[in-house]
């Protein structure tokens, strides 16, 4: 299984990759913004799981998710927004764009692992 982590913070990408690997994903690609992530998908990456930050330079998380969902080959990918955004409106925008779940920062590894288990993409739970 492949995963893709999209966040402008390398520190956050490192934390997320650690958790994703712990959940059994053999390969975890990363990108610092939505545009770079789209390029990876364009080049053939087909992740089962995509973890996406909201606020990023170049292309934000909502724009990225909306763009990736236009590709039918990526309809089955589970998209989880990893965000500090707490407003209902922003959450609704993310879900309307094609996100499946969201996790609020700050989070513990257990919260994310449980969320992934609930989404049915891992059997691991914290």
């Amino acid at each position: 299984m492949e995963a893709l982590v999209v966040d402008d913070s390398r520190a956050m990408r490192t934390i997320l990759k650690r958790i994703v690997t712990q959940c059994g994903f053999e390969l975890c690609e990363e990108a610092p913004d939505g545009l770079s992530a789209l390029r990876k998908l364009h080049d053939g990456l087909r992740p089962r799981l995509v973890l996406v930050d909201f606020n990023m330079p170049e292309m934000n998380g909502i724009e990225f998710v909306a763009a990736m969902r236009t590709n039918p080959e990526l309809h089955d990918a589970t998209v989880v927004m990893i965000t500090t955004e707490t407003s209902i409106e922003r959450m609704e925008q993310a879900l309307a764009a094609g996100a499946d779940e969201y996790v609020m920062k700050p989070f513990t590894p257990e919260v994310l692992i449980d969320k992934l288990a609930l989404a049915g993409i891992t059997t691991t739970s914290a």
């Binding site: 913070s9 520190a11 490192t14 606020n55 500090t84 707490t86 920062k105 700050p106 513990t108």
Partner: protein
């Protein structure tokens, strides 16, 4: 505005304690860094309010934070790793603070300042909340300054 010392403390505790596993103990602000090399991570929350969130830490604590987040020895960290870590700390705290502020606001990307003996001022703003903490052998401060439009 709903932002209080308690509200900001809960956000800080969530990031430092629950996510990163640090023990933080409230102390009396302000923290005076004097000639100690220190760093400031900041984000702006703009819109119906103009607010700046500032996290000020000694360099040694910034290095410890980066070592924790990257799970790397301090000797292997680059300056960019340290800046990135403090920027993400400011982003996480600022993003949650944004949720405590009424009205329509946007969160900026983080910025980092570093040096010795400097102070950060935001002209025309008032101090809204100021909290200080002991973190291990170090002390850090989080300030929120701003004004309604």
């Amino acid at each position: 505005m709903q932002l209080t010392d308690i509200g900001l403390h809960e956000v800080i505790d969530g990031v430092w304690t629950q996510m990163l596993g640090y023990d933080i103990e409230p102390t009396v602000p302000p923290v005076v860094f004097e000639d100690t090399r220190h760093l400031t991570g900041s984000v702006a929350i703009t819109g119906d309010w103009d607010v700046m969130l500032l996290i000020e830490v000694p360099e040694a604590l910034a290095l410890d934070l980066a070592s924790t987040m990257f799970a790397m020895d301090q000797a292997d960290l680059s300056q960019d790793d340290v800046f990135d870590t403090l920027g993400e700390m400011a982003n996480m705290v600022g993003g949650n603070v944004k949720g405590l502020i009424p009205g329509n606001t946007q969160l900026s990307l983080p910025t980092i300042s570093e040096g010795r003996g400097y102070q950060v001022h935001v002209p025309g703003s008032e101090l809204l909340v100021q909290l200080a903490y002991r973190v291990g052998e170090w002390t850090m401060e989080t300030r929120l300054v701003g004004r309604a439009r």
